[in-house]
Structures are given as structure tokens and as C-alpha cells.
């Protein structure tokens, strides 16, 4: 994980309650270097806006307001080991 990704993930944990309170459910939010830099009601719209501003979306964290992220999971995917 790159430093930027880690910073953004940590920032999201800190910002999440405020994001859920401030933005309508489902709104797409872009976080860069720990700060909210843009938002839009649709992902395509957000990506276009970011690119128009010279920001590379793959370097940012994009989350949705009101959507709880899955951060831990057990994946079963049993296989025949014989």
C-alpha cells in the first residue's frame, strides 16, 4: 500500500462521521492527501471533475456517503487440496 493510500484510508476513518452527516447518501467523495477534494452524485461525474482538475483518480480514495465500507472479511472459497 502506498503512503498516499494509507494516509487517505486513515483520513477516511477520521472524516467518515462528518461525511455521512454532510453529504446525501450515496454521494461520491474523493479524498486526497487526507482531505476531501471533490464530490459528485455519480462516479462518472466525479472522475471527470477530478481529471479536469488534473487529479489522477487512481491515486485518490473514493468513498460513498452513508455506505459502510467492508474492511474485514472471511473468504471461504474451499478447494480440494488432494
Amino acid at each position: 500500500m502506498g503512503v498516499s493510500q494509507s494516509v487517505n484510508d486513515e483520513a477516511y476513518l477520521r472524516l467518515r462521521a462528518g461525511i455521512d452527516a454532510q453529504y446525501p447518501p450515496g454521494q461520491f467523495i474523493a479524498i486526497d492527501h487526507g482531505q476531501i477534494v471533490d464530490d459528485a452524485p455519480a462516479l462518472d461525474e466525479l472522475l471527470e471533475s477530478l481529471q479536469n482538475r488534473g487529479l489522477e483518480p487512481t491515486n485518490l480514495l473514493v468513498v460513498q456517503a452513508g455506505v459502510e465500507p467492508v474492511t474485514e472479511a472471511v473468504i471461504l472459497l474451499a478447494t480440494n487440496l488432494a
Binding site: 500500500m1 493510500q5 487517505n8 484510508d9 477516511y12 474523493a30 462516479l43 462518472d44 466525479l46 472522475l47 477530478l50 483518480p57 487512481t58 491515486n59 485518490l60 480514495l61 473514493v62 468513498v63 465500507p69 467492508v70 474492511t71 474485514e72 472479511a73 472471511v74 473468504i75 471461504l76 472459497l77 478447494t79 480440494n80
Partner: protein, 135 residues
């Protein structure tokens, strides 16, 4: 007049036999890669593929996930299934161990398609095949 039913039907494949779906992952430049994913309603992840293709195909970053297969990287993916007119953005994950485990059943499998993706579709199965359709 009865409307035509759009669906994708796939005979179980692999050892052990797996239900599976064929999807296109459309990258940032519009480049589409067709992959076969084990359909797993027990998986809480929409899509899991190997890390490298995830990083190449993701449109934006997303939160990662800690699993029993290790840390998975996250990214927003565009998933298209042309035969059922499905086209949506979902959070996908990259994990080589998961992709490797899927390929142990059949080398054609690139990963897993889980419940968050399947519930955007109609899906089902019988003794011979697994199917998905438009809702």
C-alpha cells in the same frame, strides 16, 4: 407478446465444479478485459481478482480489506455484462492468493464474483448450470 429473456447460462466448471460468470472489466481508457469469475454468494466482495489487473483496471482508489487470504487492495471497477445489458461501478479487490485459489478449480477462473455483485442481477442455478439475468 412475450419479451425475450436476457441471460447468461454457464455449465458448472472446474474441480470441484463451480458456478461461474463471465464479465467484462472496463479500464480507465475504455479497455475491456473479459474474465471468468467463480460465483460465490458467500463472498462479501463484489469482485476479487489478482492485484496487478485490479491496479490496471481500477478507475479510482477504494478502501482495502483484511481477510483470511491477507490484505486486499481496493478499487472502483466498471463491470459490464453485455448479453444482459448490465453495466455498473462496484468496489473490487485485488488479492493474488484469492485469484490463485480460484484458478486451482480451473485455470480459466481469474477470481471471485460475490454477493454484492450478484444481487445487482437475477441469478440462479440447477443441476447443470448457473445463470444470471437482468433484473
Amino acid at each position: 407478446m412475450i419479451a425475450a429473456v436476457s441471460e447468461q447460462r454457464n455449465p458448472y466448471k472446474g474441480d470441484p465444479p463451480r458456478p461461474w460468470i463471465r464479465v467484462q472489466l472496463v479500464g480507465p481508457a475504455g479497455n475491456a478485459v473479459t474474465v471468468e469469475l467463480i460465483a460465490d454468494t458467500g463472498s462479501p466482495c463484489s469482485v476479487i481478482i489478482a492485484e496487478s489487473p485490479l491496479l490496471n483496471l481500477r478507475l479510482a482508489g477504494a478502501t482495502g480489506m483484511v481477510t483470511n487470504f491477507g490484505q486486499l487492495k481496493g478499487g472502483w471497477l466498471r463491470v459490464a455484462i453485455p448479453e444482459i445489458q448490465f453495466d455498473a461501478h462496484v468496489i473490487g479487490y485485488g488479492g493474488d492468493a484469492v485469484a490463485h485459489a480460484a484458478a486451482r478449480s480451473d485455470l480459466a477462473f481469474s477470481g471471485v464474483g460475490g454477493l454484492p455483485l450478484l444481487r445487482l442481477l437475477a441469478f440462479g442455478g440447477d443441476n447443470d448450470e448457473f445463470w444470471i439475468g437482468d433484473r
